[in-house]
């Protein structure tokens, strides 16, 4: 389990290279309205290449707000944000779209796959909008990504023919296909049962072991135990930032989990 450390502690995970992929300075978001909501108070956060971070906090604490800012889906009210060396705060809508296309991969709680569209076509979707031409054989790449998440035998299945866990793996393949600098997941296991949750975390651990930087929003403590670092928000403020000690190994849990399935009486 994890041992608490101070909120300001600088605790990159073991495999991190020390090179910041995400670097925010005073990043804040206020929703104007009858009563302004300070969804995110000025935040300094550094996440290095290869980290695997859980973002925790109670409902309304600002987790999604933070993810949307880090994901270039939203613009901050104040502060600066460098993503993989690029200052994001002043970019235009199109430039942010291009940045999402080149450097980010998203996984959502509700999977958000295109209905009536095969797994492989869903995974191909981000490459449709690639303007750099850096990805040469899109279909091969999509098949590769699906193979990576263990769905090479479901290429031509549409979402309605897939289980929730499989749909989420298609979504993860879609997030990987453009070789993003960071994979952002907002409650990716929120719609999944316990075992499927562990399966998805096993996949994330594999990807992270292969060097992919991952941020996962969750309010399930068990999920955070598979990550390397935990940050916690409350009322838009960072209240905890610590390394996960005794990180759980999802593969091993899956192997030993079998007895958990009760035998019929």
């Amino acid at each position: 389990m994890s041992t608490p450390s101070t909120a300001t502690s600088n605790s990159p995970a073991a495999s991190a290279s020390g090179e910041p992929v995400i670097l925010t300075r005073g990043l804040a978001k206020t929703y104007e309205g009858a009563e302004p909501v300070h969804a995110l108070r000025p935040l300094d956060l550094q996440i290095d290449r290869g980290e695997f971070v859980a973002v925790m906090g109670v409902s309304g604490s600002g987790k999604s707000t933070l993810m949307n800012l880090l994901g270039c889906l939203d613009t901050p009210t104040t502060g600066s944000y460098h993503l993989d060396g690029v200052e994001v705060a002043d970019l235009t809508r199109n430039q942010r779209a291009d940045l999402r296309s080149q450097k980010l991969g998203f996984v959502f709680q509700g999977f958000n796959l295109l209905a009536r569209t095969t797994a492989v076509d869903n995974v191909l979707l981000p490459l449709l909008y690639d303007r750099t031409g850096r990805i040469k054989k899109p279909r091969d790449r999509a098949v590769e990504a699906l193979t990576r998440v263990g769905l090479e035998h479901r290429l031509d299945h549409v979402p309605s023919e897939l289980s929730g866990g499989q749909q989420q793996r298609v979504a993860i393949a879609r997030a990987l296909v453009n070789e993003p600098a960071v994979l952002l997941a907002d409650e990716p296991t929120g719609n999944l049962d316990t075992r499927t949750t562990v399966e998805v975390m096993a996949l994330f651990q594999d990807l992270n072991d292969a060097g992919i930087t991952i941020l996962v929003v969750t309010h399930e403590p068990e999920v955070s135990e598979y990550c390397r670092r935990v940050v916690e928000l409350r009322d838009g403020r960072l209240i905890r930032d610590e390394t996960v000690e005794d990180r759980r190994d999802a593969r091993r849990d899956l192997a030993t989990d079998t007895p958990l399935i009760p035998l019929p009486e």
């Binding site: 199109n94 779209a97 999402r100 296309s101 295109l114 981000p126 449709l128 909008y129 303007r131």
Partner: protein
């Protein structure tokens, strides 16, 4: 390369939602179909009329009394213009531009008794020259001659329809017929001319000496119209002017602006018919055009609904890196494709209708290539015009809100 991909995405989306696509297209299918059908009908009718009138002979002229006050205020005495037999003779003698000249006196639709029963046909009193003016040959027997006109002979030449109806399978020549109790001897049968426009049958006619019709059937000496042919088909205008001048001098009128008669040439009738049909075609086209605009608004409506329904999809596309412009382009391509498909289906509908109409109408209805081209181009324009607003709405969606949309 970008366009190609977005085109595929648009096509994909259309094919994956066939029912929605069909409903979206429906307005355009009907609109384009209606425009194509009506414009084709107008064009075909025009072609048929040109054919018909051309068949009468390009050098044919009709001379009829001018409305009494035509040409100025001088007709204070309210004089009624009329054409007399003497006028016709004078015209024949004085003119140099005219070939043949024949008076014609009509006796409306009359009941004819003879042969196997009775039949209704129009009776025309003419002179022997009528045959030359109308370029109308005799199939059996003979036409009447000048002596028979002078002698008010009770002889008649039947049109093919009358001959067929009263004397099926036999020759009417030599037989007796009665027109309003006046007995006529049939001396000839005209060659078939064929049906006129709107189903009126040119062969449902009986020709008799003009003098006989005047004295026996009409009881007056009037001439309703004069049929004349220009000696030179290239000088129809000169012939027309000459006829007017002769009638002015016959009536002692010196003012060249005042007319005793109206002269209509085949060309002027053709022109009039064309003008009328053009107007009709334009009018029908415009009405159908309204339905096309309504169809366009239908597309816009359904696309707006579809943008709302596809909010989440748009959010996903934006999240994985689509620019607003990419979404706009995709939706525009979808709109144009839907309109184009709709336009093609509508044109197909018009072809089908043309085939049915050709079987029913007295003339051939064809859908011209220009109509097809116009329909296709117009539907594409409608696609861009009515697709733009929904597409822009889609492109401007906020990705976060779009993803959250249920």
């Amino acid at each position: 390369m970008k366009w190609q991909k977005l085109f595929r995405a648009a096509l994909d989306s259309i094919l994956k939602n066939r029912m929605r696509s069909l409903l979206t297209m429906l307005g355009i299918i009907i609109g384009v179909g209606a425009v194509a059908i009506l414009v084709s009908l107008g064009q075909s009718a025009q072609a048929a009329i040109a054919d018909e009138i051309g068949g009468l002979g390009a050098n044919l002229l009709f001379v009829s009394p001018a409305p009494s006050d035509a040409g100025g205020v001088r007709g204070q005495e309210g004089r009624q213009n009329e054409i007399t037999m003497a006028d016709v003779d004078a015209l024949r003698q004085q003119s140099i531009e005219l070939g043949a000249v024949s008076p014609a006196t009509f006796s409306g639709g009359s009941q004819i008794i003879g042969g196997i029963g009775n039949w209704s046909a129009s009776i025309q009193g003419v002179s022997p020259e009528y045959q030359a003016v109308r370029n109308w040959d005799i199939a059996q027997g003979t036409f009447f001659d000048q002596a028979e006109v002078d002698g008010r002979a009770k002889v008649a030449v039947l049109g093919q329809t009358v001959a067929d109806e009263l004397f099926p399978g036999q020759s009417p020549v030599g037989a007796q017929i009665r027109v309003r109790n006046v007995p006529f001897k049939v001396i000839g049968v005209l060659e078939a001319k064929g049906g006129g426009l709107g189903g009126d049958d040119q062969d449902n006619v009986i020709l008799a000496p003009v003098t006989t019709v005047q004295s026996r059937l009409r009881g007056d000496n009037s001439v309703d119209v004069v049929f004349a042919s220009a000696a030179d088909p290239g000088r129809v205008d000169a012939a027309e002017a000459e006829i007017k001048a002769i009638f002015r001098s016959l009536n002692g009128i010196s003012d060249p602006e005042q007319q005793v008669v109206d002269v209509q040439s085949q060309a002027s009738i053709l022109e009039f018919a064309n003008t009328a049909l053009n107007l009709l075609t334009a009018l029908l086209g415009a009405i159908a055009g309204v339905s096309l605009v309504v169809g366009g608004i239908g597309i816009m409506n359904i696309m707006l609904v579809s943008v709302t329904e596809r909010t989440r999809e748009i959010g996903i596309r934006l999240a994985v890196g689509a620019r607003g412009g990419d979404v706009l382009t995709q939706f525009l391509i979808e709109a144009v494709l839907l309109c184009l498909f709709g336009g093609l289906l509508g044109t197909g509908l018009a072809f089908g209708f043309a085939a049915i109409a050709s079987a029913l109408a007295p003339f051939e209805v064809t859908v011209g290539m220009d109509v097809v081209l116009l329909a296709v181009v117009f539907s594409a324009v409608i696609g861009v015009f009515f697709g733009f607003y929904p597409a822009r709405k889609a492109a401007r969606l906020d990705p976060i809100e779009a993803l959250r949309y249920e």
